[in-house]
Symmetry: C2
DNA sequence: GCAAGAAATGAATGATGGTTCAATTCTTCT
DNA sequence: AGAAGAATTGAACCATCATTCATTTCTTGC
């Protein structure tokens, strides 16, 4: 045998793979899923179209990872912000503010993650994204219920509804380009009330 | 001139057009948007593929009308149910029950109208569908605020959030095939609280 | 340096499905 | 009945991309 891939090559492979994912996230954030042809992603990553297929068996697999990566970043940000707070009310306020603030900061990406039409295989990842948020929120709600800060409720259902409310309230502004002056405040009140935070 | 289309022919044209729309709604309800190739719609309507284009300049235009038609039906049903009630709380309960009940009755159609990936041109109609619901709800909320039954709020924002919550809470059950035992009750409570219905 | 094999390339392939249009059938009016 | 024109047909066309693969370029160990 005269060739056995070495660490250096493996590192380059990994770097290449990461560049492809990053390129895809970049195009997603700039032009949405519609702009994400495999050729465009490859060009931006500085590789040939065919090379994408050395890392991912199919486009759907690439974008599953892309959505997972981008989603995780969002969920982490929300989670980090909530972790700084102690009461359920404060945690939920942090969730709303972080979620909405970031969405309004990167509207194209937020729209792609939340609502833009994508192939069915990628759609599944979107559901996972939404569920990840819901699960996070369900934890805060459940803790609030346990401590008596919130009334008893089906936390699975209410956290799902919260995610829906947040997403829907964002899609309009994301499309229009601006949110109303107190969109975030209004949403916070809505969600506090919905979950039974006492006034 | 030896030919000038007559009433009878015009009626047939209209009937044909309506059959095409109905066929599309039917396929949408049975197989979702994915099953809605122009050829499939034409076959179900009993016309040739090309004939679809005598009525609609492009597939997107056909489906704009399809979504408009199907959406209107939903909005009307919700509106009718709410009209029977007098208080904001009761109207909102009727909205939740009708919306959810119908969605769970026709899950495939509901999923297509609410969440299934479609071309961007059709997506626009979905936004209109959601806005139509939101506008309807905003009316009930505004009336409730005016009468003092509900606290002051940005009715545009809160009604949008309500639609999001409803839709999101439905997508899971629609995909899974079943709703929890008290999904609708839980949602009603959630929305009553969110809008400030006093307990 | 060179042989063996891995990685990378990008033009060609193929599948999908919307759209067109020449040919055909149907309507109307004289 | 027959001419003029409209409606209908459906197979062919075409555009779009995801995917493939024969060829080229790069790496490694000797």
């Amino acid at each position: 045998m005269a060739y056995r891939s070495t660490e250096r090559v493996k590192a380059r492979l990994t770097a290449s793979r990461e560049r492809i994912v990053a390129a895809a996230v970049g195009i997603l954030a700039e032009h949405g899923y519609a702009g994400c042809s495999v050729a465009a992603v490859a060009e931006r990553a500085g590789v040939a179209t065919g090379s994408v297929y050395r890392h991912f068996p199919a486009k759907a697999d690439l974008f599953a990872e892309v959505f997972r990566t981008a989603s995780q970043r969002e969920v982490d940000a929300v989670s980090r912000a909530a972790a700084r707070e102690t009461t359920a009310a404060a945690k939920l306020r942090a969730v709303v503010e972080t979620f909405s603030g970031r969405a309004l900061q990167s509207p194209r990406l937020a729209y792609a993650l939340l609502a833009e039409p994508v192939d069915p295989a990628v759609e599944a990842q979107r559901l996972i994204f939404r569920r990840a948020h819901a699960t996070l929120i369900a934890g805060y709600v459940a803790a609030g219920v346990a401590s008596g800060e919130l009334p008893p409720q089906d936390t699975e259902l209410t956290s799902t509804a919260v995610v829906g409310a947040l997403a829907e309230a964002m899609v309009g502004p994301l499309a229009a380009g601006v949110a109303g002056p107190d969109t975030i405040g209004g949403l916070t009140t809505f969600i506090h009330r919905a979950l039974g935070v006492s006034p």
